[in-house]
Structures are given as C-alpha cells and as structure tokens.
C-alpha cells in the first residue's frame, strides 16, 4: 500500500559474477541491520519448525477455568478468552506467518515474474496485452483487489493468501519487465542473439540471473505488505477463521478486551510488528549491500 513502484527502476544492476556474490555475502554479514532482521527471522523459522516441542500447552486446548489470566510463570503471555495459552498460540502463529509469506510471495512472484519476462522480452503485441492486464490489476487499490478476490472466493486463510498473492503480481511483473528491458539492450545479450542462442536460453540463462537481486530486495519489501494485508483480513473476519492461531485473527476481539486483558492484544500485535519489522530491516540491509547508491 505504501510501497512505491518508483523504486524498482533504481535497482537496475549489471550481471553479478560469482566473485561479487561472495562480496555481497561478506558485506551482508557485516551489516548490523542485517543481523537484527535476519536474526529475528531465523528465530521465527526456528520457532515454526520446532513449535510442537517448544510450546508448554496445546494451543487449541480450551480451559475456561483459567480464561483471561494475566502473564505469569505458568502462562508466559497469559491466557485468552477461552483459557488457551497465548504464548503457545504465538509460537504456532509463526508457522502461519511463514506460510502466508511463502504462498503470497510464491503466487505473486511466479506469475509476476513470468508475465514480466514475457512482456519484456517477447513480441510487442504480447507486451501490450500483458501491460494492459497489469494495468487493470493496478486499477484496483491494493486492499480493494484483495477484498474483491475474497468476495469471490469466500473468506478463509487460504483465500486470503491467494488474494494477497494476486494483488502482488503487478509489482513483480513491472519490476521484472523494467529489468528485462534495461538488460536486453546490453552488448553481450546482443552478442548472444547474434550467435543464434534461443530466446528462452537468453531469458533464463542471462536475463533472469540479473533480475534475482532486485527481485529479492523487492520481495523483502512486498511480502510485509502482503502479510499486513492478510492480518488485516483476519482481523476483519475475512481471512483466517477461529480457532486458527494466526496473529491477525488473535486480534479480532482486541477492541473489547483491550481494557480488561491487555495481554491478549499486546502479544499478537507485537508479534506482527516484530516480524514485519525484521523483514523490513533485512530488506534495508539487502538493499544497502546490493545497491549502495540508493542509500
């Protein structure tokens, strides 16, 4: 929603050779924001992978006797309105967070990159057609597109992921297309074409690797938007449905419980915030490292 599509054009880069990849990694490891962002993300991945062994309670077990208990040694983050342990639910929520990231990014990236590649390197009529399609998708404000997909498919966690995935397609498509257009006129591409290399060989062998770095950076900025949108959907009851341990869904009753049980609101809210923040930090770090000019 707030991500500007002006930025991708700043990221046009020459081909990355193996040597500079090592340099990139080196720079990354010495970047403080990369450590913070990457560190938190690793923590999230760890929590997601080992959730069943980490959690003290079953995140779905209802126990009305201990409902709405404040944080204590027995329940680190307290309990919610049904007596479920919030800490356990937050930990399981990491799985859904990663799932949303993965699915939304996969849908948006796979379709978007393909469309962008075809538009940038294919015949002119294909470019026109695809760009018109993208324009129609872009004609809808982000949230509206997401809502429209939900309206058709009905609310659920899966449709929410599909919806934010679809809404992400235009961004990737335009980025890739811009990159492709800037690369295809480079000399060595011309040379390859002169040498008779097939179109797809050029596409996949030469163009695509150049697009990878800006794609990754873009991904680390676009994915948080997708996750925020998915959380907003769950908050509105149009995404993940109860009793899912999704952080946005855990905030459904936030407004009524804010006063009497602040921990039920603080935990999922901070979880979303921290996770998104770490993605943004990592994105910042990646951008610093891969394209210092824009700092």
């Amino acid at each position: 929603m707030s991500f500007t599509t002006a930025e991708p054009s700043l990221l046009a880069l020459p081909a990355a050779a193996a040597g500079s990849r090592r340099a990139t990694l080196h720079a990354l490891l010495h970047n403080r924001t990369a450590w913070i962002g990457g560190g938190v993300l690793l923590l999230i991945i760890f929590a997601a992978a080992f959730a069943p062994w980490i959690v003290p309670y079953d995140p779905y077990r209802v126990d009305p006797i201990v409902r709405l208990q404040p944080p204590s040694l027995a329940h680190l983050f307290g309990t919610d309105a049904l007596g479920r342990d919030i800490f356990s639910r937050i930990v399981y929520g990491t799985r859904l967070f990663l799932l949303i990231c993965a699915i939304a990014a996969s849908i948006a990236a796979s379709i978007g990159v393909t469309l962008g590649l075809l538009a940038g390197s294919g015949p002119a009529w294909l470019d026109m057609l695809i760009m018109r399609l993208i324009d129609v998708l872009l004609a809808f404000p982000y949230i509206l597109l997401v809502l429209a997909v939900i309206a058709i498919l009905g609310p659920s966690l899966w449709t929410a992921m599909v919806a934010v995935g679809i809404a992400g397609i235009p961004g990737y498509a335009r980025l890739v297309r811009a990159e492709v257009l800037s690369v295809r006129s480079l000399e060595y591409v011309e040379a390859m074409r002169a040498a008779g290399a097939g179109v797809w060989r050029i596409r996949l062998g030469t163009i695509l690797p150049n697009v990878v770095s800006p794609l990754i950076v873009y991904g680390t900025f676009a994915t948080p938007l997708a996750v925020l949108a998915a959380a907003a959907l769950s908050f509105l009851g149009l995404g993940a449905q109860p009793p899912a341990a999704e952080w946005g869904a855990m905030l459904v009753n936030a407004r009524t419980l804010m006063f009497t049980a602040w921990w039920t609101v603080a935990a999922p809210g901070m979880a979303i915030f921290v996770a998104i923040l770490s993605l943004n930090l990592l994105g910042n770090a990646l951008r610093d490292v891969l394209d210092p000019r824009s700092r």
Binding site: Y60, G237, T256
Partner: protein, 526 residues
C-alpha cells in the same frame, strides 16, 4: 430468527443521555440509543430482522395487542376481540380516533392494508409464516376487522404482538412507494424525522400521541423525552468506549465488555433473563450415525455448557437443557429438569461405548471401521459462536471424537444445510412463541435433515391448533418432553440481555418480550 439477533441481542436499544440544550418547542431530554446494525429498511413488511423490529416496534409503530407481564395478550389498538366457537374466526374491534403521524386515520382499512401487503407475492414478504393459514380478512365497518383461518392458528396472538404485524399509514405507503422504507409512518409515541444511512436515525416525540393504553407502562402521560437518536454502532468495543466517554451513556452489552460496567457504581446494569433465544446443536439425521439416539444423547452429556456460558457470554447466560427457551410461554422447568441431560463426560463415554464406538489408535473412536471424525458447521462473524465452537471441539476431543469446524456467512451457511455434506451444526434461534418448535423440528425439519418421528410430529401439530393459552402450554410441555426423550437437538444455552445505563437514567423498562417502553425513560433530577 436470523442470526442478526446476536448483534441486537433482544433489545439492542439502550439509552444515552446527551446534554442537549432543550429546544424551545419541545422540552425534555434527548435520548441516544445504540443500534447494533443499520436496518436495511424501515418497512416492516420487507424484513424479519430484529433490528428493524426494534426501531419500529418500540417507537414508531403500534399493533392490535401487546403481551402483558404474564405473557397474555392485552388490548392496544384493538379495544376488544372475540374468537368464534370453531376457533377459526377472530373479530377485533378497534379503538376510535387513533391517528397516524401524518394525520390520517387508523382504521380497519389500515389493518387490512398491512395484511394484504404481506400476502402480495410481488412483495415477497418474509412475514408470510406469521399469518399462517389466513384465509380471509373482512372489514364489515371502519372499526371492525375479522380474520378467518383455514384451521385454528394458535400462535396468532403472539405474532400480532410483534413489530412485524404493526401498522403503517396506507396513505404514506402509497405516497412514498419504493422509498417508504426510508420514511416510516405509524401511530407510535415517536415519529420519524430523518435517517443518515449507516450512521443514525432521528426520532421526535409525537405531539398528538393518544393516551397510553398499555398497563405495563409507568408513564401514563406524554412521553418524557423530546427526541430519540439511534446511533448505529456495530462494534461492541466502540459502544463500550462511547459509554465511557458519555457519548452513549448506555448500551446493550455483550460478553467481553460486560465486566467493565457491571460492578462499576457509575452505571446501572439491567439484566433480562426472560429471553427467548436458544443456542443448540443439530444433527444431520440423513446420516446413520445420528439416527442413533444414544449418540445424540451422548452429545448432550458431552458438552460443557458452563464453559460456553463463561467463554461466550462472560457468565451472562444460562445453560439450556430443553428445546424451548426459558422466556417463551410454555417453558416447562419440570420437564427440563427431569429429561434434560447436563454435562457429564462419564455418561457420555458410556453411551458412546454402548452405541458401539471403541477407541482406536491415538484414542480416536471407531465403529465398524468408521472413524469418529465429524464436520460441525456454523455461521461466521460472532465471537460468541466462535468460542462456543471452540469449547465443543475441545469437549469432543476429550471423548475421542475429532470435530472439524467450518463457519461461513449466514447467507451461505444456512442454505448449505440443505445439502448432505455436514454432520452437525451449531445454530441459534430467537422466537417468542412455542410455534418455534414446529418451525424448526417438525419433520422434515427446517433444513430437511430431521427424520419423521410420529410422536414429535403429532404433538407439535396438536399444539398449534390449541387457541386457549393454558391448554396450549400443557401441550407444549408434552412437546418438550417428547423432543428431549428423542434428543432431536442438543440445547446448549440461552443468553441474557445485559444493558448498562448511566447512573441517572430512570424508568428504563423492558416489556414482556424484552422491548423498551421509551415513553417511560427520563433522567433523575441532579
């Protein structure tokens, strides 16, 4: 009733006091009500929604009869009535000299106009079941109306006391045509001023209001408040905040926000336990598992109703063990106590074992190779329902039954029950009359999922033809017993209405059906 009842929770109208400067023309405070949702229309013919009924029924429109504190019909716009010997004809004599807000007369033609509108197929009115086997409506003179039914229709008097059968000015309906739903005109104590869609509805005191004929009203004179503002506030959190800041000094409350006000000396809390809603679990009897009444009974023993009362309503509900809600005339506490099956996991386990369900690997029950995995459907968007489902799922898990939950919007959920792709569903119904048992449970059931049970069907049919209330209630008692012995559904709970008002609000009274008597409300002199 539609699930919208959960938002409105019987009267979702509550009073708020705004320190409005008294206008020169009308002295008296302005009351601010909360509406749980924006009504889709204010023409009662077009809607069965509770919100519409509250806006119209409490303030703007009036009907032939009202139910007194004992639940018996009393004369309101009708002066008297007589029932024929064969119980198929009811003749009403109307009060003379009553006028609509637009100055036109209320008379027998206005009554006939309303019923004709309901029966008009072009209106596709959802109110058709309310008039039952109505055969003919005659108007022998301007103050007499005669209803003729094909067979005796017991629920009729209760239905007449509902806002859906209150009267609109025929002149106004003709004048406004399609937009009448935006300008209702009735005979009530308050008349319509304006409607800001989605935001608020403004009403003002009816200066020509007739004498107060209701015995259950305290204020026999003109209504105290000069203006009523109905604000649409869908989120309970917002309503609670508005209560605290004084913008909406009182409101109806749901579970999570009740604790904030209940023990606070700055507010008065009114709790109505005589409510007519029921939360229950239903079975798809098309599937063999649920044709075994032992399984159904086990479900009744399996559910921890107290847990749901706590989780869904913060304790402001009562476990229900019978199929008729406690506030409905005919509720038989004795029958319920004797035949109801309260939470008892041990008995549930025993019954399931008895029915042939044995624990398999991982504790999951099995019978003849079929695993105890069931789909429970319900409707989405309501915290109380979500929490109830979570508790039920957990209770069943303790027994070795694996329940998957699926909620969807009411408009999708309810029609989908007609299909055979579910096992159980959680439903909630609000209706003030014993006819609800027939509406829902007489075979084939409201969703074609109930197998014929001659005992149930015959007793329900009989109850609907008994016009005399005492006889009818006895019959309803039998019906409750029969339904419980068959455990056609598993009753879970009935939630109370909870309303918080500011300390200085007086005269806030609910009538027998839980509707507000707005003319009674006033402020204490400070």
């Amino acid at each position: 009733m539609l699930r919208r009842t959960l938002i409105s929770l019987a009267p979702s109208l509550a009073l708020g006091l705004v320190e409005a400067p008294a206008r020169a023309a009308d002295a008296g405070p302005t009351l601010t009500f909360r509406l749980g949702e924006d009504p889709e229309t204010l023409y009662n013919v077009q809607s069965i929604s509770l919100t519409v009924a509250e806006v119209l029924g409490d303030q703007i429109l009036e009907g032939l009869v009202y139910l007194d504190r004992k639940g018996l019909p009393q004369p309101w716009l009708a002066q008297s009535w007589s029932v024929s010997d064969d119980q198929k004809e009811i003749t009403f004599k109307l009060r003379p000299g009553v006028k609509f807000h637009d100055g036109t007369d209320f008379n027998a033609d206005a009554v006939k106009f309303h019923f004709t509108a309901i029966q008009d197929p072009q209106n596709a009115s959802p109110l058709l079941p309310l008039i039952g086997p109505l055969h003919a409506l005659d108007v022998p003179d301007p103050l007499t109306v005669r209803f003729t039914f094909a067979k005796p229709f017991a629920p009729f008097f209760t239905n007449l006391s509902l806002a859906q059968l209150y009267f609109n000015s025929p002149t106004a309906v003709a004048k406004y045509g399609k937009t009448y739903g935006r300008h209702p005109v009735g005979t009530g104590p308050y008349r319509f001023v304006s409607w800001n869609p989605g935001a608020e509805i403004d009403l003002e005191r009816n200066p020509d209001y007739h004498p107060q004929w209701r015995s259950d009203a305290e204020n026999k004179g003109a209504p105290y408040a000069a203006r009523i503002v109905l604000r649409v506030i869908e989120e309970d959190g917002v309503a609670a905040e508005a209560l605290e800041t004084g913008e909406l000094t009182a409101s109806n409350l749901t579970a999570d926000i009740i604790p904030r006000f209940v023990h606070d000396p700055g507010y008065k809390v009114i709790i109505n336990k005589n409510v007519t809603n029921l939360l229950f679990l239903e079975f798809n009897e098309r599937r063999p598992t649920f044709q075994d009444f032992r399984f159904r009974q086990a479900m009744s023993y399996a559910i921890n109703r107290e847990a749901i009362v706590q989780a869904s309503w913060s304790g402001y509900a009562a476990p229900a063990l019978g199929p008729l809600a406690v506030g409905i005339p005919g509720y038989d506490a004795g029958v319920v106590a004797k035949y109801g099956m309260p939470y008892d996991p041990a008995k549930a386990k025993a019954l399931l074992a008895d029915a042939g369900w044995k624990p398999g690997p991982g504790g999951l029950l099995e019978k003849n190779g079929q695993k105890a995995r069931f789909l429970i459907k319900s409707y989405a968007g309501f915290t109380a329902i979500d929490r109830a489902l979570a508790v039920i799922q957990s209770n069943l898990k303790d027994l070795g039954v694996d329940a998957t939950l699926q909620t969807s919007d009411w408009g999708v959920f309810y029609p989908s029950l007609l299909r055979d792709d579910w096992d159980m569903d959680l439903d909630r119904w609000t209706w003030p009359d014993g006819a609800v048992l027939t509406q829902l449970f007489r075979s084939p059931g409201h969703r074609n999922s109930t197998l014929p049970d001659p005992k149930v069907d015959s007793v329900l049919d009989r109850c609907n033809t008994l016009m005399e209330p005492t006889q009818r209630n006895v019959c309803l008692g039998e019906a409750q017993q029969v339904l419980l012995q068959a455990m056609t559904i598993v009753p879970i709970l009935t939630n109370w209405t909870v309303i918080a008002t500011q300390k200085n609000v007086l005269g806030y009274d609910l009538d027998f059906e839980g509707g507000l008597i707005p003319g009674d409300v006033h402020l204490a002199k400070t």
